[in-house]
């Protein structure tokens, strides 16, 4: 489930409406509508804590496939140049310019908060629902006046509800559920734009119910399917800033 949250949505796709579709079919359509082979994005991450204090960070993210990600901080000044890279869920590296060194990070870092935001690194890195399974049949419903399918997704024991716009198969909202069925996190995808046939939300809003904080990721620019090579994801590029 976690996987879908994030930037996930940046890359999903759309197609024709078919009635009486299975959940997996809806999910496949959504992937088609929003998936690109690679992308380079510049975005402003705005974190508002429960006391209303706001922090802004500007990031450049380069992604390829489901797992390859290189994130570089452009602002604020004291974080400029800090880079995180992953080539698989198990392989993560960090570059701190103040230290001038790249270090491999192992363990559970991918599960934790990304840069103090409400997104986890995993959520930032993953671009599709991967191994997610749909439980039951999609329910036809409305979300904020938009006709949608509501799916119950299982991602390794974590459940979530996903609303997919019926017309274009765009993800509208995800709710991560806790063990009691309560909403832990809500992710809203908005301001979709189509680039090279791929739909991408230019605003992702994550509401963390448990912490009372909100993280918004607003895109400044986005380039899709630009032919990024695997070799791009290297320690050298981390230092150079991609």
């Amino acid at each position: 489930m976690k996987r879908m949250q994030a930037i996930t949505s940046v890359l999903l796709c759309l197609s024709a409406v078919v009635s009486a579709m299975s959940g997996d079919e809806v999910l496949d359509r959504m992937r088609e509508a929003t998936t690109a082979s690679d992308r380079r994005i510049e975005a402003v991450m705005r974190i508002t804590d429960k006391n209303g204090r706001v922090q802004e960070r500007v990031l450049r993210m380069v992604m390829k496939g489901d797992n390859k990600l290189l994130v570089r901080f452009l602002e604020p000044a004291d974080l400029r140049g800090v880079s995180f890279m992953s080539t698989s869920p198990e392989n993560m590296w960090v570059y701190l310019p103040a230290q001038g060194r790249v270090r491999r990070i192992s363990g559970s870092a991918a599960e934790a908060s990304f840069g103090g935001s409400d997104f986890s690194y995993k959520e930032m890195a993953n671009i599709s629902f991967g191994s997610s399974r749909v439980q039951g049949v999609p329910v036809e419903t409305e979300l904020n006046g938009v006709r949608a399918y509501q799916l119950l997704i299982d991602d390794g024991g974590t459940q979530s509800r996903l609303w997919v716009e019926k017309e274009r198969y765009l993800p509208l909202q995800v709710e991560q559920l806790d063990r009691d069925g309560g909403v832990r996190k809500r992710i809203i995808f908005a301001e979709f734009q189509q680039e090279k046939g791929v739909w991408m939300p230019w605003l992702i809003r994550l509401e963390n119910r448990a912490k009372g904080s909100v993280t918004e990721l607003r895109l400044r620019s986005a380039e899709l399917n630009i032919g990024i090579r695997d070799s791009y994801f290297s320690e050298e590029n981390m230092k150079k800033g991609g």
């Binding site: 974190i47 804590d49 006391n51 204090r53 922090q55 901080f73 604020p76 004291d78 974080l79 800090v82 960090v94 701190l96 310019p97 103040a98 230290q99 060194r101 270090r103 491999r104 990070i105 192992s106 363990g107 559970s108 870092a109 934790a112 908060s113 990304f114 840069g115 103090g116 690194y121 806790d178 063990r179 009691d180």
Partner: protein, 750 residues
């Protein structure tokens, strides 16, 4: 007061109905009563460092931490470790819990060659013996965990549960207890930490109220029954005072005042003290009825004549309680206010409601005790001439005893350690002891540092302060962003020990903090705000004694001034400050409350009897009693706490009544010109009700000795002793002094 007997005589039905109606109305508000054991609410917020706790609540997700103490000979076994894991999961699911920290979910940042490992301390529970041994060795070798989450000997572990600031503590503790119960640990599991202890105090207070009120009632039934040997003499004063308790506690509920540990003694006190007024009115009623007077005359004398000394007794008692209004402790001031209201209500009911009830009852003189005069009265009548004869010896002995008692009394010290509320060896006291001795203490100082926390200059001041803080006695573990940054620097530098230093540049700090966000931001969020403008240093303290707390607070404040100077804003707070503020509040205002009580009763008695001499005579027995009470406390090492702090002023207020009754009767007997006869008649007339009263009040208070809470126990027994002593002291000292003062005088000014 002349109008009062007429009112009672004319409208007994209306009075009875009115009292019944008001009792129903105020009784309804009893359901609004809320028990509150919170130590931080006992003092004005500005004086107790509580505002710092509120900042911690708002900025760092909660300041209250409950602790689960797990004792097991085999802690590092799959069974216990997986039990802890399950329990942590269950505890984390409790909505009122913000964060659960235990061995198995602790995020660990460490260096392993060129790698930075960010993982749980126990990623998966080892299944082999060697795996478990190696985990045990690793945990016990690391000072970040040893003595914090696992005892030095590896036989006890803690689970720290941070509650949400808005959590309903009682409910949260209940849910934690349920989760612990369901975990079925092989070892012993108990709860500690301020929220758990406060919840236990609250439960024990409820249990006390349910247990002590019926006990006081039973005691009063016995005393009143034995003294009056009539059902009227037993039931009516009791009924009157029960109504007074309903009114008073109903008013507490109506005004939504919390029932604190101080307030919990109010109902038993009102029952014991308030019954005295009824006893005196009823005694006079019976005396006059036996004299064959008609109803109107009986009402006139019982209400009109006895009403005055009873009124005086009420006013002086109320003054004694009101003297506690000078106390800085909010809980004591609220108690004092409602005690004064309760005493006034008891008086009003005794002079209006009780005679009204008696008016409505058929005249049955045969049912009244016919012993005339009573055996005790005859005995007391014979005692008076002896007191007069040996008055010098009586007074000198009393003076010598006073001096000796005061010498011991100087040893009495205040103590507000709330663990001492519990009996030694009880579960809460035991758990607190384990946390104090093996885990660095459950009390925690909170130090808030404001400024650009990423600035290495501020961080190095924080580091120096932490180092200095370690030297303060009883300070054990210190947590702050400083140690986290140092260990991250070490982890980033191949785990080299020499790299365990603070980063040198602001950028380094900022970048490490960003990296740390991957290690579980909850921990980071408990030490620094997301905008890095406010940092929190916590320092555990392994001693509950308020004297030690006072010393530590003074030293910490000096270190703050020394290490941060005026340019960095630093605030000190936490529960230790609230406890110490309570200690200071008691230490500085207890003596004033006693002086205020003594002055008030001297002035009141002097005004009412029109004689300063009589005012001073009246205060002698209570002064003597006070000296003896404090002497006893000094001798037995009993400390003054938030409840016993009221002992002096209450003893003055109640004890003065006995002198007042003696003096009032002495004045009434002014037609008798021979001082011996006059005193004999005085002692014979009011001695028995004084003794009954002292016995009723004393035994009423003694019932508090059955409390589950040690401070209530001590208060009850001390004041019970003081009351009994006060009654006897009045009967011995007042006649002795009056005999000296009036030996050449033929009568007193009327």
């Amino acid at each position: 007061m002349r109008w009062l007997p007429g009112l009672v005589y004319r409208y007994p039905v209306w009075i009875t109905a009115g009292v019944g109606l008001l009792t129903l109305v105020l009784g309804y508000f009893l359901k609004e009563l809320k028990i509150d054991a919170e130590v931080t609410r006992m003092m004005p917020a500005g004086e107790s460092g509580v505002e710092v706790l509120r900042v911690v609540d708002r900025e760092f997700g909660g300041s209250e931490q409950a602790i689960v103490v797990i004792e097991s000979e085999s802690l590092f076994t799959p069974k216990v470790l997986s039990g802890i894991e399950r329990l942590v999961e269950q505890l984390s699911d409790i909505p009122m819990v913000n964060q659960v920290t235990a061995l198995n979910n602790l995020q660990d940042v460490r260096g392993a060659g060129d790698e930075v490992v960010i993982s749980r301390l126990i990623d998966s529970i080892p299944s082999t013996r060697s795996g478990l041994e190696s985990l045990r060795a690793r945990v016990l070798a690391d000072r970040r965990y040893r003595g914090r989450l696992v005892a030095q000997d590896g036989r006890a572990a803690l689970i720290l549960i941070r509650l949400r600031p808005d959590a309903d503590r009682a409910q949260a503790i209940r849910q934690i207890e349920t989760a612990v119960k369901q975990a079925h640990f092989p070892g012993r599991v108990s709860l500690a930490g301020s929220p758990a202890l406060m919840e236990f105090v609250r439960r024990w207070m409820v249990a006390d109220l349910l247990k002590l009120i019926p006990l006081v009632v039973l005691m009063l039934v016995l005393v009143l029954g034995l003294a009056s040997r009539t059902w009227r003499g037993t039931v009516l004063p009791l009924l009157v005072v029960l109504v007074a308790v309903v009114w008073t506690m109903g008013l507490v509920g109506l005004f939504r005042q919390p029932v604190t540990i101080v307030m919990v003694v109010l109902p038993p006190i009102l029952l014991a003290v308030g019954s005295a007024y009824g006893i005196h009115i009823l005694e006079r009623w019976q005396q006059e009825s036996r004299n064959g007077l008609d109803r109107r005359e009986v009402v006139d004398r019982a209400v009109g004549r006895t009403g005055l000394p009873v009124f005086l007794a009420m006013v002086t008692t109320a003054a004694g309680f009101a003297a506690n209004l000078v106390m800085k402790v909010v809980a004591i001031r609220v108690f004092a206010l409602f005690a004064v209201i309760g005493i006034a209500v008891s008086f009003v009911l005794a002079v209006i409601f009780l005679p009204a009830l008696l008016m409505l009852m058929p005249v049955k003189p045969a049912r009244f005790r016919q012993e005339n005069p009573a055996r005790s009265a005859r005995w007391l009548g014979r005692l008076a001439p002896r007191i007069i004869r040996f008055r010098t010896a009586v007074l000198v002995t009393a003076a010598v005893m006073c001096v000796i008692a005061l010498i011991f009394g100087t040893r009495v010290r205040p103590e507000t350690d709330f663990v001492r509320y519990f009996k030694s060896g009880s579960e809460p006291a035991r758990a607190a002891e384990i946390v104090n001795r093996q885990f660095g203490g459950e009390l925690q100082f909170e130090i808030l540092v404001e400024g650009d926390i990423q600035d290495p200059a501020i961080l190095s001041r924080m580091e120096k302060f932490s180092r200095d803080l370690e030297r303060v006695e009883h300070i054990t573990h210190i947590s702050s962003i400083v140690e986290v940054l140092k260990s991250t620097n070490r982890a980033f530098n191949q785990n080299r020990q020499d790299a365990e230093v603070l980063p040198q540049t602001r950028d380094e700090v900022a970048q490490y903090l960003l990296l740390l966000s991957f290690s579980g931001s909850d921990y980071l969020a408990s030490l620094v705000t997301p905008d890095y403008r406010l940092a929190r240093i916590t320092a555990q303290f392994n001693e509950h004694s308020s004297a030690e707390l006072g010393r530590a607070i003074k030293e910490i404040r000096a270190l703050i001034r020394q290490d941060f100077g005026p340019e960095v804003r630093v605030r000190l707070g936490g529960v230790p400050l609230a406890i110490y503020a309570l200690h200071e509040g008691i230490a500085t205002s207890q003596l004033w409350s006693i002086i205020a009580a003594l002055l008030a009763v001297v002035v009141l008695v002097a005004v009412m009897f029109g004689s300063l001499r009589l005012g001073l005579v009246a205060v002698l027995p209570v002064g003597f009693t006070l000296a003896m009470a404090f002497g006893l406390m000094g001798l037995c090492g009993i400390r003054v706490d938030v409840v016993t702090a009221m002992l002096g002023s209450i003893a003055v207020g109640i004890g003065i009544d006995y002198s007042c009754h003696l003096i009032a009767r002495f004045r009434e007997e002014s037609e008798e010109k021979d001082i011996r006869s006059r005193l004999s008649r005085t002692v014979q007339a009011v001695g028995p009700p004084i003794l009954t009263n002292a016995l009723a009040v004393g035994l009423g208070f003694a019932v508090l000795g059955g409390s589950s809470l040690v401070i209530v126990q001590k208060f009850g027994l001390l004041i019970a002793g003081a009351m009994l002593f006060s009654g006897f002291a009045a009967l011995l000292l007042v006649p002795a002094v009056l005999a000296g003062v009036f030996k050449t005088t033929r009568g007193d000014k009327k």
